[in-house]
Symmetry: C2
Subunit: 219 residues, 2 copies
């Protein structure tokens, strides 16, 4: 019974996400959904991406959080449109929450919409938002066993960003195992090793994302 | 509609958890439920606790994971009874999963049962198992903003273990803010600062846990 209800919710969500996707296509908005465990560096990646690509693309952000507005305030300081979704306890954002947030934006004037999900390596992987790409972050202190333990997130994502490489000397993180196990789940996964603190490696992420947005525009 | 279904699931779970609790009381088993984000150090804490208190108390472990048995294998090496729960995708363990695991143990011969939950700072906080105490771990690389962002976990827990203090020189973690914000949510929260890597500070955790088990026996 429980499984039936959940699968029903997922079907409804898929339909709404598809409607969002159609609208984004019409308006020419490329959309990414950023997911990770709590504290892996989602907001830091959003900030760095805006600082670097904000001159080239018009960027807007949807911040998904259980109750607060801290991340939205961090991002709003960069002078771009931000809408906060408060899930009121729910462990992920979904297609309907995105749909409710959209009237707050002038979609025709946005090239890249970034949705930052609730910090959770499990549930957000199940809920499509209407995004072009799911981006997941694994931070080095979490350990290299995470792909094997939380496979759906790695399976559903187009990109894995391995963040906090600046901590590699101080944590037990087997980079080769993390990549090997993630690719065993999803052989098309693009992997970028970065430090959002020192900016090391982020140029590869910027290049990939810019390329995706350009290809999307030319479609 | 969705909220109604979820609240119904929670009611059923509360009833099962209470039945588990009654059984644990009869058999004299003190039960803790360990929760945290992925990679914060749950299994390391379980290992250290068994190594230190295993001579004094008879300990058994239930490992909750989405699909693998890695953590159960790590713990089984310490020569104590371990049962693996694989949730098959679900983001938490619940009262019914615990009930299903219990026939695998000789409960009369167990002083302390440790249930290690799925790595998730959101959903497990909602599901009682029949435990005496919920123990949550916050690791320093996750950041001090977590109590404010994931309040239910901090509200429901009896103990917050701040782990990975060995990384404090290398991460931006405001210890005073983390404690202050957590205590603002739950003023009865016991807080222990530890490093499961270096063992620093763990003696306070061992002392607290031993005291709880002794008080429970004398009730």
């Amino acid at each position: 019974m429980k499984v039936k209800v959940v699968s029903n919710i997922l079907d409804v969500n898929d339909r709404i996400a598809e409607e969002n996707r159609t609208l984004f296509d019409e308006k020419g908005v490329y959309v990414i959904n950023i997911m990770s465990s709590p504290g892996a560096g989602k907001t830091s990646l959003v900030e760095k991406t805006i600082q670097t690509l904000g001159g080239r693309f018009k960027i807007a952000v949807i911040e998904g959080d259980i109750q607060d507005t801290y991340d939205a305030e961090r991002v709003a300081k960069l002078g771009i449109p931000v809408v906060q979704i408060n899930t009121g306890g729910a462990c992920h954002i979904d297609g309907n929450m995105i749909r409710e947030a959209l009237p707050s934006f002038d979609l025709g004037g946005i090239d890249l919409l970034i949705a930052e999900n609730v910090g959770n390596l499990v549930c957000p992987a199940e809920f499509k938002l209407g995004e072009n790409a799911k981006i997941m972050i694994l931070s080095t202190p979490e350990g290299a066993d995470k792909p094997a333990k939380y496979p759906l997130m790695f399976q559903e994502s187009s990109v894995m960003i391995i963040n906090k490489t600046d901590l590699l000397p101080y944590v037990d993180f087997d980079m080769q195992k993390a990549k090997r196990d993630a690719l065993a789940i999803n052989r098309n996964l693009k992997i970028f090793e970065v430090s959002c603190k020192t900016s090391e490696g982020l140029e590869n992420w910027y290049r990939w994302l810019s390329g995706e947005i350009e290809s999307f525009r030319k479609r």
